[in-house]
Symmetry: C2
Subunit: 215 residues, 2 copies
């Protein structure tokens, strides 16, 4: 008569459990840095045994990289919509707007993603962040309607990436330090882009070494 004696733990679908653990890890890693978060803590948070983390993700580091990848699905620079022939001003204005909108919604995650800097390189982490930024640069380049993203000359790509640096810094000023209002951040990002494209880029192009035929 004693029916099955209340299972000690629940058995979840593979993907479901994986997602659940990933979510806990993401939250913890966003709050504190890598080495001050222990696998025991993540496991406790998720209500599972520590060994299960290794079953799903391998090492602690693998789990961490997975988290970084998940966070980086989010764009990391103003990314304009596809722009069938409209002026750059309009396209960039819209793109920046969507960008700021996204930031407002994902404030915490985004700040954690680009915020934490330290000494010492971590090639794998860097590669993930680098890919995200490079993709954002692609979109920006295409918004200029001069080059296909993959055909753009190095100095153009570099200049756009430099603008990306400006955009991130300005976003932090708005989101974290509050030294810009949202409107001011908007103006800074739009006018910054236009100024760089109109005035700075041509100056860079006139410089010796700009017109290497194939590189």
């Amino acid at each position: 008569m004693a029916t099955s004696p209340a299972p000690r733990w629940q058995r979840l679908d593979h993907d479901e459990r994986r997602q659940q653990i990933l979510a806990c890890a993401r939250r913890l890693f966003s709050e504190r840095n890598y080495s001050s978060v222990s696998t025991s803590e993540i496991a406790r948070e998720a209500g599972v045994a520590r060994g299960l983390l290794h079953h799903y993700f391998g090492t602690k580091r693998d789990l961490y990289l997975e988290v970084v990848r998940a966070v980086m699905r989010m764009p990391s620079n103003p990314v304009p919509l596809q722009s069938p022939g409209r002026g750059v001003e309009l396209v960039i204005t819209e793109g920046v707007d969507r960008w700021l909108e996204m930031l407002e919604r994902n404030r915490g995650t985004w700040l954690a993603a680009i915020g934490a800097r330290g000494l010492g390189r971590d090639p794998e982490v860097e590669e993930i962040l680098e890919d995200a930024r490079e993709q954002a640069a692609d979109r920006l380049i295409e918004a200029l309607q001069t080059y296909e993203a993959s055909q753009a000359p190095p100095h153009l790509r570099a200049t756009v990436r430099a603008y990306g640096g400006l955009a991130e810094a300005a976003s932090v000023e708005w989101l974290e330090r509050g030294r810009l209002t949202r409107e001011q951040a908007h103006v800074l990002l739009v006018e910054g882009f236009l100024s760089i494209v109109r005035d700075v880029l041509p100056a860079v192009e006139q410089t010796t070494g700009a017109n290497e035929p194939s590189a």
Copy 2:
């Protein structure tokens, strides 16, 4: 007759030993990230017992922070010289030149310092880097000869910090990815600054919320 039986280890002056250990730690932490460098390794490198690190620096983390501080004595943005009344163009041109010069000499260290990003905030490390950048911004603000650095309105400071982001990104493009020549980086940094000051900053100032009396 057997004179003193060859000391097993040499006893160094306090500061001297400290500097020696710090140098080894600095090199290792610049190459790999925090958790993949062990205290045993640092000790071995310095030719001392592991316990000695703790004697001099406390915990591994304390040693790390000390290293970050040491690295950050180096400026982290174009820092113009004092400029008694000369034009902004000249001052910034000179400042950028010195900046690029410094980068060329300290390539490895600088890249390690600003390069490694990851998930998860580390308040103490962030504070150190933040201070260095804020100081660089002070110098840039003073180069404009409009405000004392400490009196500058928030939006001005924020705009200059945004330029700092551009400067760092552009520097990486030159130093690491080689998508800019040194000349191109120079032009980008100078023209970028001038454009931002001439065109972007006024636009930001016209924006609603720019003229808060005291903030």
